[in-house]
Amino acid sequence: MADTLAQHGAPQVPGHGPAVDPGGEGGTRRDFLYLTTAAFTVVGVGALAVPFIASMNPSRDVLALASTEVDLSPIAVGSAVTIVWRGKPVFVRRRTAEEVQAARQTPLSELPDPAPDQSRVKKDEWLVLLGVCTHLGCVPLGQKPSDSRGEFGGWFCPCHGSHYDTSGRIRKGPAPANLAVPDYVFTSDTQIRIG
């Protein structure tokens, strides 16, 4: 009996019955206990990790950040304002007729991230965008009259050279996607609520 145990490499425990698996599958009762203990430890540590990891996600006060109202009436045709929503800049641009036309006439096949201009606005004139470059998060230039607007008349991100068009769609450079359109509604003709 001692020989059998030694062959299996299991330690001899005085006063205990054979630890050999009677079914002959190769595993012993001791192996089973080791595996169960290990499995419980892994699951337990995993469960304990959840609150730690979750604590790093946005807290309730951050999530509760109220939506932002924007009064559109002072914005002249062809100009733009930047407002802050959830700590990020939101671009509101009142587009000229030419800018709208330029956006609409671009064939979708020329776009790296195809989306018709109509799907990106609620009213033709008003373009509302998250002012965050979809490459690595810089704020593109193009809001101020003195800014470079890039090769497509929209925005230009100076960080790594992404060009956006008058619909905020990516046209050239490393950014993979169009500038995002945040959730917003027109609460009146001259007022929107973002978020």
Binding site: I53, M56, N57, P58, S59, V62, T82, V84, R86, G87, K88, P89, G131, V132, H135, L136, G137, C138, V139, P140, L141, C157, P158, C159, H160, G161, P174, A175, P176
Partner: protein
């Protein structure tokens, strides 16, 4: 000697009493006193010790900065200015800490380059080398986190760009970035956790440094010839020989360090970081600290977001498999005429990338960065494996002591002819 006590060789009764119960003195004596060390080290072997000193300096200055620093978006910038203007010697602490990070990277880059040149990554030191790469990664993380703390424009936008790298990961990328931020942009929760981690990681680094040195003391040091010591004639006790040699290097290191701190404390920094962070305005040209420029250049050299991130990460991760990419049995590049040139060109490509990383992403810099990136990877993935199979090395000396002590064997002609002039 009572049972269970260590047989101490120390004479001083107090030391002996402690050593018998906790043989730290015996250990120090063994690992740093009599430790047999190859007798032919050159000054490249100073840099490991310098790195350790540098880590201690960072922790010491950091702890005292932390006593006056406030990790809040509304106060962080001003608290650093207060350290600079009002806190006694605060300017010194901060300039030593900020320039200490630069010194740390200079030292570590030379230290890594030494390992590449003399083949210290090869058997039996693979794990030792990999632990070194882990330390390098921890250092990079720590320096990045620390640079965010003063909450200037470069702090903020550097943090934004680097954390956004994770958004390139398909499917879960955006959630990971939100999780890293603890919000929807880099903001107060981000600053707080960065501070917490910036405090923690140097101590984790310290732990890995301990393992790195423990592994070193199993395999023993490599040396400029890359051949193993064959006996006591090839080694010297660490003390006093290398404690003395290390001290010489340490003094030079302190001179360079002091020159930076006292005469050019902002030379390696960026003036934009003296402008408080503004989440609505990106500076026209954002650049990371100089020590990240080569990797930043690789990121920008790739026209695809995910691809750029993968290559940037890969440029360091590749070091983990370097011991298996280089199949040549010869360690030191002194005896590898072709690989040696290839490695020197690799060093050039590293500096070219560093230069391109500081330039705006325009031609010709993008093209140059692409070529340099290509070579950077080709060295590891193509040239080293190919040379491992093809290259014919120069004959290795029979032992370390032979060329050093002139103990017979072939000597360079000049050394034989005029021995007196050499002395």
């Amino acid at each position: 000697m009572a049972i269970g006590l260590h047989e101490s060789e120390f004479k001083n009764p107090v030391i002996r009493w402690v050593d018998a119960r906790l043989p730290v003195f015996t250990m120090m004596q063994k690992e740093y006193g009599t430790f047999p060390t190859p007798r032919n080290f050159n000054y490249f072997w100073n840099f490991g010790g310098l790195a350790l000193v540098n880590l201690v300096i960072m922790i010491a200055t950091g702890i005292f900065l932390a006593m006056n620093y406030t990790a809040h978006v509304n106060f962080a910038f001003d608290s650093v200015e207060r350290i600079m203007r009002d806190v006694n010697y605060g300017w010194l602490l901060r300039y030593v800490h900020a320039n200490g990070a630069s010194m740390f990277f200079i030292v570590i880059y030379i230290h890594i380059w030494r390992a590449l040149y003399y083949g210290s990554y090869k058997a039996p030191r693979e794990l030792l080398f990999m632990l070194g790469v882990v330390i390098f990664l921890l250092m990079m993380a720590t320096a990045f986190l620390g640079y965010v703390l003063p909450w200037g424009q470069m702090s903020f936008w550097g943090a934004t760009v680097i954390t956004n790298l994770f958004s390139a990961i398909p499917l879960v990328g955006e959630s990971i970035v939100t999780w890293l931020w603890g919000g929807f942009s880099v903001d107060n929760p981000t600053l707080n956790r960065f501070y917490s981690l910036h405090y923690l990681l140097p101590f984790v680094t310290f732990g890995v440094v301990f393992l790195h040195i423990a592994a070193l003391h199993i395999t023993g040091s490599n040396n400029p010839l890359g051949i193993d010591p064959k006996g006591p004639q090839d080694t010297l006790p660490f003390h006093p020989y290398y404690t003395a040699k290390d001290s010489v290097g340490l003094i030079v290191y302190f001179i360079v360090f002091a020159a930076l701190v006292f005469f050019a404390p902002n030379l390696l920094g960026h003036p934009d970081n003296y402008t408080p962070a503004n989440p609505l305005v990106t500076p026209p040209h954002i650049v990371p600290e100089w020590y990240f420029l080569p990797f930043y250049a690789i990121l920008r050299a790739v026209p695809d977001k995910l691809g750029g991130v993968i290559l940037m990460g890969g440029s360091i991760m590749i070091l983990f498999i370097l011991p298996w990419l280089d199949t040549s049995p010869i360690r030191s590049m002194r005896f590898r005429p072709l690989a040696r040139i290839a490695l020197l060109v690799w060093l050039v490509s590293f500096f070219v990338l560093m230069y391109c990383g500081a330039k705006p992403p325009e031609e010709p810099w993008v093209l140059i960065a692409r070529l340099a990136t290509l070579y950077y990877f080709a060295y590891f993935l193509v040239i080293l494996p190919a040379l491992g199979a093809k290259e014919r090395g120069l004959p290795l000396p029979a032992s370390i002591s032979m060329p050093v002590l002139r103990g017979g064997g072939p000597l360079p002609a000049g050394a034989m002819a005029k021995p007196m002039e050499k002395a």
